[in-house]
């Protein structure tokens, strides 16, 4: 990792190959980050030359699956940013609770920790029975994991601390059963989730929602692509619906940001 394993020119070549041969468009991803992921994969899988690496990605379908899994960053947590979940619990979801039916889209859900956190809050507000959470990601492998709702037990201490800080007041351990090294979350939670692949770059709007969460995904996109995705979200949010972003992401420079109003200090906007 000391020298550049993959330089900018080679990166461009690889991303064009991927688009042409596999239909995934990463050209508008932030270069620094995707370059780092690809260089890491090159080193990890012990390729000896760029030509070999390029050929394998281009022509080996099985390897491309691995490529997709490894270059997307799937790190996530339950109740990450407790103050964000506090705002959902105390300000956003009670408003949506006045609707007969609540549709939520978690875009870039990774292995599902965010969707399960949301379902727990909905359950505690007695809203889960009339809610449906659509959880999507570009990476099919993480969705398989998300469906199972099993998370490493050694993270649960941190998650339950996050949960308490987010104003959760139940005993967090009632939501899962420990099974060897995994915590299996209650099926009443996953029962209200629909998992599906969806690529924010190339796929279209598929429903109208009252709340869209897309957190820590847009940091991987360049500004133009971010704006395209905001347009996609805009066409998928009902009037007076909400859009929630990651703690370092913002709607501010999107030309139509004026049509949204931010909720206090959180990265949550309401469509006017």
């Amino acid at each position: 990792m000391i020298n550049e394993a993959i330089d900018n020119e080679q990166l461009e070549i690889l991303l064009n190959d991927v688009l042409e041969n596999h239909g995934y468009d990463f050209l508008e991803y932030s270069h620094a980050s995707i370059k780092r992921r690809i260089s890491r994969l090159y080193a990890l899988d012990n390729f000896v030359s760029f030509a070999e690496f390029r050929y394998t990605i281009k022509s080996d379908k099985q390897y491309f699956k691995r490529f997709l899994e490894e270059i997307t960053v799937n790190v996530t947590e339950m109740f990450r940013d407790p103050s964000f979940y506090r705002a959902l619990r105390n300000e956003v979801l009670p408003v949506l609770g006045t609707y007969p039916f609540i549709r939520i889209w978690v875009a870039g859900c990774s292995t599902g920790e965010e969707a399960y956190s949301l379902a727990i809050v909905l359950k505690e507000l007695n809203l889960l029975h009339k809610s449906l959470i659509y959880a999507t990601d570009i990476n099919p492998l993480v969705l398989e994991k998300a469906k199972k709702g099993m998370f490493p037990l050694n993270y649960l201490k941190q998650y339950s601390e996050n949960y308490l800080q987010s104003d959760g007041s139940k005993d967090f351990s009632t939501y899962y059963t420990a099974n060897y090294s995994l915590a299996k979350f209650d099926e009443s939670l996953s029962g209200k989730m629909i998992f599906s692949t969806h690529n924010l770059v190339s796929d279209h709007s598929f429903n109208e929602f009252q709340l869209i969460l897309c957190r820590n995904v847009l940091i991987y996109f360049d500004k133009d692509l971010q704006h395209k995705v905001f347009n996609l979200f805009d066409s998928s949010i009902e009037k007076l619906g909400y859009l929630a972003l990651g703690s370092k992401e913002s709607l501010d420079f999107w030309p139509r940001a004026k049509e949204y109003r931010r909720i206090k200090t959180e990265k949550i906007w309401r469509k006017l």
Binding site: M1, I2, N8, S30, V73, V75, N216, I219, K223
Partner: protein, 194 residues
């Protein structure tokens, strides 16, 4: 060696630090000239939670503008940027910042290695990196990349560092570096102005 460093043009200065580095930063900042013609980027290991604490502390000691990095923000000369807690900080070819929420490196996010490495490729010989006190080996791999791309490496003198492990690893592993005491650093940085 210090000669060649002060004569080269500095396009960006990155300071990486861990345990024991806050005192050094507080020592450096009051001594900085107000007319720096390059950006200063700080990557330090800290807990998320009290986001503005470090920037407030430093802002009270300098007239340079100090702020946490915003995602995709353009990097400007004369400003001090702080890497946000819990994200890796990367530099884009067009001199903007990107954030990355991938796995921790050296048990750290932000990792100093990640930023040094990424900046080395972009700023090449225009980069100056300083590694301060700390008790893990984060930063050392990054400094190797800085050296390889022609950038300059400065290491806090381990003998005067609160936590000598990190600078000691760097001194041992980096061929081409300048070793300074905390009290010498502000002066050194001011001399990078051209």
């Amino acid at each position: 060696m210090a000669e060649t460093i002060t004569s080269a043009k500095c396009n960006a200065l990155i300071i990486g630090g861990s345990a024991g580095s806050l005192d050094v930063l507080l020592e450096i900042f009051p001594g900085l000239n107000a007319d720096l013609n390059f950006p200063i980027i700080l990557v330090t290991h800290r807990k998320s939670g009290n986001e503005s604490l470090l920037s407030d502390l430093l802002q009270s000691r300098t007239t340079l503008r100090v702020a946490e990095v915003e995602e995709k923000e353009r990097i400007l000369a004369g400003k001090v940027y702080i890497a946000p807690a819990d994200y890796h900080l990367l530099i884009e070819e067009d001199k903007t910042f990107s954030l990355d929420y991938s796995e921790k490196i050296n048990y750290s996010r932000p990792s100093i290695d990640v930023t040094f490495q990424s900046a080395a490729e972009v700023f090449k010989s225009g980069l100056v990196c300083i590694l301060l006190s700390g008790s893990n080996a984060d930063g050392v791999e990054g400094l190797k990349a800085v050296n390889n791309f022609g950038g300059k490496v400065v290491i806090q003198n381990p003998d005067t560092a609160l936590m000598p492990y990190m600078p000691l690893q760097a001194v041992t592993n980096i061929e081409d570096s300048v070793v300074l005491d905390a009290t010498e650093m502000a002066d050194f940085i001011n001399k990078l102005i051209d």
